[in-house]
Amino acid sequence: MKKILFLAAILAAGIAWAPASDEQVGGPVAVVIKDATILTVSHGNIPKGSILIRDGKIAEVGPSVAVPTGATVIDASGQFVTPGIIDPHSHIAITGGVNEGTLAVTSMTAIEDVLDPTDINIYRELAGGVTTTLTLHGSANPIGGTSATIKLRWGKDAKGLLFQGARPGLKFALGENVKRGGTTGRYPASRMGTEDVIRTAFLEARDYMSRWETYRKRAAAGDRTAIPPEKNLTLEPLAEVLRGERLAYVHGYRADEMMMMLRLADEFGFKVNSFEHALEGYKIAKEMAAHGAVGSTFADSWAYKAEAWDAIPYNAAVMTRKGVLAALNSDSAERARRLNLEAARAVKYGGLSEQEALALITINPARELKIDGRVGSIDPGKDADLVIWSHHPLSIYTVAQKTLIDGEIYFDIQKDREMRKRMEEERKTLEALDRKSAPPGRSGRGSGRGPAGDRVPQQPR
């Protein structure tokens, strides 16, 4: 019964947390956020400025903007507005496990197929100002699968989460996590084996591409005996990486393993879009900058495993100073809720400016994900993905007040407070009903309480 009650509460919560439907349909004609300190990230700060949002896009930004009749006006005086935070490495909103680690190469698996729009972490991250995440496979095997770039449109279905038009990606992984496969008898069990697996996969993909190329040429020449090669779902994403159509996101910690991947990529003529975590990126900033690989890292996590022993909190700052595009990622539903404070660490450790620090969680990850034409800064024409903060977003004391995606409010701290009250009342009602329908000691069929359960002493809640 308790379980049922709980499920009911969850269900109720889910309904309660969905934005009101009348707001969803097209949204209001226009929204104006008024009199806030606007941190545009692209062109400095506006001490007392306003933003006009029309049709989900930023229409105007400046000390003052036109206020169309019928526009919803949000008074944000004394508050701060930033672009929505982009978390370029996340595992939220995924049903079941994030790894298909049974094989070394599982590029045929797709996160898009298992998106879970009901994951409560979506809502929790909205409350931390996150609007877009790159949702990836784990790092159990050298080639994990294809990723999904999503917007945290809480209340929408799985398809509604997708960031339409975002470039597809493929997750690779190097180092310790991959090696651990060896303990289950799955190859590889070393960094040598990891290179071998990835190299073999790309050789196969290249061969696969040439078989198709041969076929296409023959078919184009009118050769009616030409037979198309078998479609290979494992090699297709790899072929897309080789053609530059799919972004290679490569989990790597140590400088040596990242160098291995850069050599391999140069040899095969593709680009490592980014190193995920890149804890030793600061050691090879020169090589990463030359290749054009992004360093998507943590702020100050270290020593939790051997390959994180040389991790330093200055990493993002060193990479930035040495010409690497650096971003901060969460890799965790908990950390994602305070990426603004992760960015603050880059001011403390390494002395980045506040704008450079904010860039690590907005425009830089947008550039990494190749969605910087759409999001990542407060500029006219971009999606109205915005966060209104109580204090400067790099202050420990800041609390996100409202989070907007495409001009719609997906998190509002006032509504959250009201919802809590509703839920608390709902819980009381449900509990009262539960006590009425299932008095203690009675074995209710279908309540999930078996005969043995009756002997369990009632525990106070």
Partner: protein, 432 residues
């Protein structure tokens, strides 16, 4: 041969002379004046502007707008800077583990269920790389606790500076770490799987049996204590020896409990056994706040920068816990337990303030309150004459991330701000 001997003797004498001279000069430098700063005493004197702190031989001797500088004291100009008591991390395992995932680098846990004789102090690594990394953010002392089993062993409270564990120890035996067998079931989704009903009866029985075992061990220790008192020749028992101060109510017991149910059971048990105890963990402490207040049981909280434990909890359930406990009159300390995360202790307090705790209470939750709970508030936790000089000088609010620590003093010694991380930073910034 005789000549050689003479030379050796001579050089020995020489070394001794040099050492003596060095010690003397070091002793001369043991006086400091931190001048003209904003001093957060966290004592009844509150916050003092343009004040100075005088340190002599490891202790604070004067605090105030007008102080008398001892002759030869080193002056630390701190105009525009702020001085705080060093922070106290009241839970964790710093010094017992270097790289968490590498077994041989961890000494946090030993075999067996009842290990009261084990001392964290005996396994502390004074050269741990985590120690400098933690202290340069203003954490000057930390508890290092063993884990695992019903009785994990004894925690040590250490200064985050020193050549040996002996030099570092504030309390070699700061308390006994105990975790009662859990009654199972973490109360809902996201908080661990509830025990299946069919197994609940078995689990409850097993729990009762384990509790009985623990009670019996404590009872044995009481008999043992009386026997030893009556007949000092009574054969010694390492395990029971270690439990004597526990059953006598002299040694603090850290009772680890997270859920409301487990906290309640822990309090029941500890009262029955007449233990001197605190609750450690306390994720659901607010659900038993009335009981905690009534029994005056303090709580050493785990990191509050955490996800809610239940899926249907408010998103900020853990962030608001300190504010709610303070409002309910429950005493608590904030901690950042993971060895590599100790440096983030001030941000635990910052988070607590962002979600409703007052600035003063937030500061005290990482200084005075942990010192009180650990029973060392007479020595650390505030800036007052007579206390150990654990001081942090910053260029701004201690709890803000962008703030920089400018000087660090541990037991009256001016400690370097260099760490493994600053060294690697310099090394690779210089790479051409």
């Amino acid at each position: 041969m005789a000549v050689l001997c003479k030379r050796i003797l001579l050089s020995f004498a020489c070394v001794a002379l040099i050492a003596a001279a060095f010690l003397l000069s070091a002793a001369d430098n043991r006086a400091y004046v931190i001048q003209n700063a904003r001093v957060y005493t966290l004592s009844s004197r509150g916050t003092l502007d343009r004040a100075s702190v005088v340190v002599v031989d490891g202790k604070i001797t004067q605090v105030g707008q007008t102080v008398k500088a001892p002759a030869g004291a080193q002056i630390i100009k701190a105009e525009g800077l702020e001085v705080y008591p060093g922070m106290v991390n009241a839970w964790g395992n710093i010094g017992l583990t270097e790289i968490g995932s590498v077994d041989v680098m961890s000494d946090t846990t030993d075999l067996g269920a009842f290990k009261p004789q084990l001392l964290a102090f005996s396994a502390l690594l004074p050269s741990s790389e985590h120690i400098p990394v933690a202290r340069v953010n203003g954490i000057t002392s930390a508890l290092s606790a063993p884990s695992g089993g019903t009785i994990a062993g004894q925690a040590a409270l250490i200064h985050l500076d020193g050549w040996t564990a002996d030099e570092m120890a504030i309390l070699k035996a700061a308390g006994m770490v105990m975790q009662l067998p859990s009654t199972g079931g973490r109360g809902g989704r996201g908080g661990g799987a509830p025990t299946p009903v069919a197994q609940a009866a078995d689990a409850a029985r097993a729990t009762q049996q384990q509790l009985a075992e623990l009670a019996e061990l404590l009872e044995k220790a009481r008999h043992y204590a009386r026997a030893r008192e009556a007949a000092p020749a009574t054969e010694r028992d390492r395990q029971l020896d270690a439990l004597v101060p526990v059953v006598n109510g002299q040694m603090t017991v850290f009772l680890q409990a997270q859920t409301a149910r487990d906290i309640r059971s822990a309090i029941d048990f500890a009262k029955k056994e007449k233990l001197k105890f605190v609750i450690q963990g306390g994720r659901e402490a607010i659900r038993v706040a009335d009981l905690l207040k009534k029994e005056n049981v303090p709580v050493i909280l785990d990191s509050i920068v955490s996800l809610p434990s239940r899926q249907d909890d408010p998103y900020d359930a853990r962030f608001t816990l300190p504010k709610e406990l303070a409002a309910a009159g429950v005493r608590f300390a904030l901690t950042s337990p993971s060895a590599s995360d100790v440096r983030n202790l001030p941000y635990e307090a910052g988070f607590a303030q962002a979600y409703g705790l007052s600035h003063e209470e937030a500061l005290k939750a990482v200084t005075l309150h942990p010192a009180e709970i650990l029973g060392v508030a007479d020595r650390i936790g505030t800036i007052e004459p007579g206390k150990i000089a654990d001081l942090v000088v910053t260029d701004g609010d201690l709890l803000e991330i962008r703030t920089q620590v400018k000087h660090l003093m541990i037991a009256g010694k001016d400690v370097s701000l260099e760490t493994r991380h600053t060294l690697l930073y310099k090394k690779y910034m210089d790479r051409k």
